[in-house]
């Protein structure tokens, strides 16, 4: 699928380019509210990834890939879980159990908890984003 699904359809290409940032923004929103409202890293990752899939459909695979290179995806795939795990370790370092957010570490426990949970969500989001896109590319005939 080296060509776009819709050929050189200008409308589709333009709309896709326009919509993509908003989708990504929404994704970030979902991500950042994950620890207090429905949402979270996984959903956010999928939402953001969908923007790239949309671009791939509209603009064609090569161009989409050009925007989201393998050299970026690979570190993202790995670093997400790393963030997750390291935060867990951080909790241990701070004197709690693994992933025990509610600990006093520079800030009051509630604040620490919020920060850490967000960080974990970010990690998850990054990974999911990268992985979904990678899978899509792979299935699309990479």
């Amino acid at each position: 699928m080296s060509e776009s699904l819709f050929g050189e359809d200008v409308i589709v290409r333009t709309i896709a380019r326009l919509v993509a940032p908003f989708i990504q923004l929404f994704g970030l929103y979902v991500l950042m509210h994950g620890h207090v409202s429905p949402g979270g890293g996984f959903q956010a990752g999928v939402i953001i990834a969908s923007s790239f899939i949309l671009l791939a459909l509209a603009l064609g695979l090569p161009e989409s890939k050009e925007r989201f290179k393998k050299t970026i995806r690979l570190p993202m795939e790995s670093s997400g879980p790393l963030i997750f795990a390291l935060i867990g370790v951080t909790c241990i370092l701070a004197g709690g159990y693994y992933l025990q957010y509610g600990i006093a570490f520079l800030f009051p426990p509630a604040v620490v908890s919020a920060i850490l949970i967000s960080a974990v969500e970010i990690g998850i989001g990054i990974t999911v984003l990268a992985m979904i896109v990678t899978i899509f590319y792979a299935m699309a005939g990479d």
Binding site: T71, L74, P75, E77, S78, S79, P81, L82, A85, L86, G88, V89, C91, I92, G95, G96, Y97, Y98, L99, Q100, Y101, G102
Partner: protein
């Protein structure tokens, strides 16, 4: 809280963290993957040993993830058995990792180096996690991790047969996973908890109570089938010979050496940790049923192995037989028997790991897979073949190798039951041992005492040192732990006693 108290999570984290770091570093420089993996597995191994020590001194360790006390939070519960499994897993993985350095360079395309190590570490993390977890669903997750990474590893060479094997493995594996998931769902419906300790308490009140006892039995059945597939217990072993023989040899060693044992671990956990020993042994004689299946597995697996011409396929079928030994020991549900089964996990891991690594070395050096073509290798690769012989003797159960000790315990266990079926089981054990001898001695005879087809081939051409070292360590282990069996037994015995509640 000291460092030591975090060991349960550390043993899981180390391989998993490595799994994430590897691709990034590998992306920069492929040569760095192997040392990284070796170092981290060594750490995991050391951590496992420390874990075992603290379990031995402090008893069962319960670790509350995120600080949430069970049954609400996820707990890691490390008993003797879990610690024991961690040691086995990390030890064998370490050997495989050392071995991989030279082996992978030839066997796999360069681009696959980083994924290979990543998957290996993921699989190890999964296995470690499954061993230490105290939560049923958590276990399911770890099982998914290890299964999926093993599917990929089987297929990693990219050969068509390997992909087919992997596909077969994937299909059956997926079925197994689904079954266990359904089982978990049933239990959750019944009790509203997934923590193993909590489950066992709550289930105890449900035994024989109306409809819920039926639900319970159905759940048990689902678990049995699901984990039997993972453990490749006959007749659900059909994926194993293909997958284990088609994977790269270092992976075969891990798959045959420990991965199926994790399936056995899950079975044990379900039987003895979730359901009570009294229930599975007496009320519903599940253990005796799986014992019979295991007995059949021993015989049939061995018979299949005899008929193989491909070395690795033969080793794979041998694994089918030996998982039978392990499950038989578990199913006997007697002190000696279960100890023997658990001990055999370790002994078989060493021996079979060694054998697969040797098979890999043979393929590496000569490209031969057919048993009849191996003539003259005794002179060509003396150390490798000596190790092969020792490991094979351990598989047969010849003293003073480690295999003999497990055979001894299993035999005692079978007789300890004091029933006629015990006599049948011991017959199966002994016959299985004899059949094992038949196919291993065929290989040994070919290696040492058969006229090679091409004299000029028989030049001294030993396996490279990097591959030889793990082979020799494993072979040495087969002898050393045969002479000093107290070492593994110091964990295996209390493990069995704790599981059986005696």
């Amino acid at each position: 809280m000291t460092w030591a108290s975090h060991l349960p999570i550390i043993v899981v984290l180390i391989p998993l963290l490595t799994a994430y770091i590897t691709p990034m570093l590998g992306w920069m420089d492929k040569r760095i993957c192997n040392p990284l993996v070796i170092v981290s597995t060594s750490f995991a191994f050391i951590a496992s040993l420390l874990l075992a020590r603290s379990v031995l001194t402090r008893g069962v360790i319960s670790y509350h993830m995120g600080g949430f006390a069970p049954p609400f939070g996820i707990a890691l519960v490390v008993d003797y058995f879990g610690a024991y499994m961690c040691i086995v897993i990390s030890f064998l993985t370490l050997m495989a990792a050392i071995y991989s350095r030279e082996y992978i360079a030839k066997e796999l395309h360069e681009s696959k180096t980083a994924p290979y190590y990543t998957l290996l570490m993921l699989m190890t993390g999964g296995m470690m996690g499954a061993s230490v977890t105290g939560d049923l669903f958590n276990m399911f997750v770890f099982f998914e991790i290890l299964s999926i990474s093993s599917y990929a590893l089987v297929a990693i060479t990219g050969k068509k047969v390997a992909i087919l094997a992997s596909y077969k493995y994937l299909l059956l594996g997926a079925i197994g996973t689904s079954f266990t998931l359904v089982g978990i769902a049933y239990l959750y419906i019944l009790t509203g908890t997934l923590n193993m300790a909590d489950l066992s308490v709550r289930l105890a009140s449900l035994y024989g109570v109306g409809r819920s006892s039926w639900t319970l039995l159905v759940a048990l059945a689902f678990f049995m089938v699901g984990y039997s597939i993972k453990a490749a217990l006959f007749p659900l072993h059909t994926w194993l010979p293909d997958a284990h023989s088609m994977a790269p040899s270092s992976i075969s060693a891990v798959l045959s050496g420990i991965l199926i044992k994790v399936g056995a671990l899950a079975l044990i956990r379900v039987l003895f940790n979730i359901f009570q020993p009294e229930f599975v042994v007496e009320t519903i004689p599940v253990t005796s049923m799986i014992s019979w299946m295991a007995a059949v597995a021993i015989i049939v697996g061995s018979l299949f192995a005899i008929s193989q011409v491909d070395l690795k396929r033969m080793l794979a079928y041998s694994s089918v037989a030996h998982i039978g030994f392990i499950i038989l020991g578990v199913g006997l549900a007697t002190g000696y028997g279960t100890t023997g089964g658990i001990l055999h996990i370790f002994n078989h891991a060493m021996a079979k790991g060694c054998l697969f690594l040797c098979a890999g070395a043979i393929i590496y050096k000569t490209g031969l897979r057919n048993i009849d073509d191996l003539a003259g290798l005794g002179n060509k690769m003396p150390f490798t073949m000596a190790a092969f012989t020792i490991a094979a003797l351990s598989m047969i159960g010849i003293p003073p190798t480690a295999g003999f000790i497990s055979k001894f315990y299993l035999g005692l266990g079978a007789l300890e039951t004091g029933t006629w079926s015990g006599w049948v089981f011991i017959g199966a054990i002994l016959l299985g041992s004899l059949l094992t001898a038949i196919f291993y001695m065929r290989v040994i005879n070919n290696i040492y005492f058969k006229e090679p087809l091409h004299r000029e081939d028989v030049q001294r051409d030993e396996t490279p040192l990097g591959m030889l070292i793990p082979i020799l360590i494993l072979a040495g282990g087969c002898v050393i732990f045969g002479i000093f069996p107290r070492i593994p037994l110091s964990l295996a015995e209390p493990a069995a006693k704790l599981l059986l509640g005696i």
